[in-house]
Amino acid sequence: MKTKPYGRLLVLFVVLAMLFLWAPILIVVIISFDTSKFLRFPLQGVTLSNYVSAVNNEDFVTGFINSLIIGVGTAFVATALALIIVQGTRKSTKGIGALIQGFATSPLLVPHIVLGLAFLMFYSNLALSDTYVGILIAHTIITLPYGMQSIGASLKAYNENSEIVAKTLGASDTVIFWRILLPQISPGILSALILGFLVSFDESVIVLFLSGQNTTTLPVQILNYLEVRADPVIAAVSVLLIIFSGLLMLFINKVLKVKFV
């Protein structure tokens, strides 16, 4: 007879924990279909009109477009930067190479509220406040560690022997980079791009310091809206956001088979 290493108490705990983790998500989904004009329980009826109002709201649409522009820009710049750093330091994993890698991943350790303040003060000198470039630089810095992780992970699986063979056969370093290294680490690069986009798209603290009228992103619009009112329309926006990033994540996991957790 085998006794289980856990008791009923643990099962009960797990059920309660799941309820706790999922309650706020489920409630947002439910309320997004409510007919009421403001938050109210019990629910009044079922409708899709909140979704219609959400996609017709000019603030949300501009915010979404700004988030897209900054997100895509950040993804490309951060991935290129990550590739340069990983490629440049991969042959010297000790000493200066490790130092550079540590430096480039250090933004993970600095609270965003501190980075936001730092960028606000510094960029106001460079006339970068309320510009796409300013936010793009900030987002690139916080995204870089993720990009380096993705590319670094696929570089671990990289077969250096093919590089040696190519070299013996007379290939130049440029050819080796484009024809041998890049194709082999392309899953890492693709996931760095998507991850970079998502980090930038979801970031809401630094952008609060840096964005103004011209560059308000979707998270900032949502926060501004929430200050004034909390209603089913904002729930619909949240659900759309959840679906959007959920699909991108699913794409990374299923299509690229990259795991980063």
């Binding site: 290493p5 856990y6 329980f41 949502i222 929430l226």
Partner: protein, 284 residues
């Protein structure tokens, strides 16, 4: 052959130099500004170094209270994490593998949804016309207790955001936990409680401690959740940094608060590492 090598080195130098200028220099600015004369127009005019902001922080009850509130919220979130994430992580390791994996997916998925959306979910649950208040009112409670605008409400929101991280870290740190050890103990006559106290807890205490500390520092620096769920009634270090910087335009004070936050961060990281090293020394 040489040319390409040089190109990648040149690119690397450019990358590191721009990173140093656009990331490191702004952080040094924060450090420098924290020691400037307090201001209401952003930067200080005078270049003199002063401890004025820090003196204000230590003596003005307003700031002392903010520091206390921040620590209380962080502590509550850490306790909630221990109570919720720890059993979850144990279940993931101890349950049959298929159920454990399924559980892991259910824990991680909320992590992938926008944190603003989840914070809004708490507004729906805790708000004045929200789920809890409405339910209590229907049950006959005329004036249901308000959870929004309290440190407890904020802690709930933060715990929901950080528990998935903590669970992930713990469940991977609990690899040392071998199910057979528990079987062995129970075969030898140990009760479940005894097995937990003598086998499971000692093997997992370190992972539990370091994840709770991580959650503690993350909570101390969170901005969005305290801002939204605090509904203007609760100030934390992070919300005060934002208000000082953007509303009051007192950049030296905002910087001083940022330094306090970073020192708190560093102190806790050091504690975690010291405890970890100590635990390893005991084991060997």
């Amino acid at each position: 052959m040489k040319r390409h090598l040089r190109l990648s080195t040149i690119l690397l130098v450019i990358a590191v130099a721009s990173l140093a200028y656009l990331y490191l220099v702004p952080l040094v600015y924060v450090l420098r500004t924290a020691f400037s004369e307090p201001s209401s127009i952003g930067f200080s005019d005078s270049a003199a170094l002063t401890l004025a902001s820090f003196k204000e922080l230590a003596t003005n009850p307003y700031y002392v209270k903010i520091l206390g509130t921040t620590l209380i919220i962080s502590l509550m979130v850490a306790v909630m994490t221990a109570l919720i994430a720890y059993p979850l992580a144990l279940a993931i390791v101890l349950f049959p593998e298929r159920i454990g994996n399924l559980l892991l997916i259910f824990v991680v998925t909320p992590m992938l949804t926008s944190s603003i959306a989840r914070t809004f979910g708490w507004v729906v649950i805790l708000g004045p016309t929200g789920l809890i208040s409405s339910t209590l009112r229907t049950l006959g409670v005329a004036q249901p207790p308000q959870l929004m605008g309290t440190t407890f409400g904020i802690s709930l929101g933060l715990a929901q955001i950080y528990i998935p991280y903590a669970t992930l870290i713990m469940s991977s740190a609990f690899g040392a936990l071998n199910q057979n050890l528990s079987y062995a103990a129970q075969t030898l006559g140990a009760s479940k409680m005894m097995t937990f106290k003598r086998i499971i807890l000692p093997l997992t205490a370190n992972g539990l401690f370091s994840s709770c500390m991580l959650v503690f520092v993350l909570s101390a620096s969170a901005y969005v959740t305290p801002q939204v769920l605090g509904s203007g009634k609760v100030q934390t270090l992070a919300t005060e940094i934002y208000d000082s910087a953007v509303v009051a335009l007192n950049w030296p004070m905002a910087s001083a608060l940022a330094i306090v936050l970073i020192v708190l961060y560093a102190a806790i990281m050091i504690i975690v590492n010291v405890v970890k090293a100590h635990a390893e020394r005991i084991r060997s």
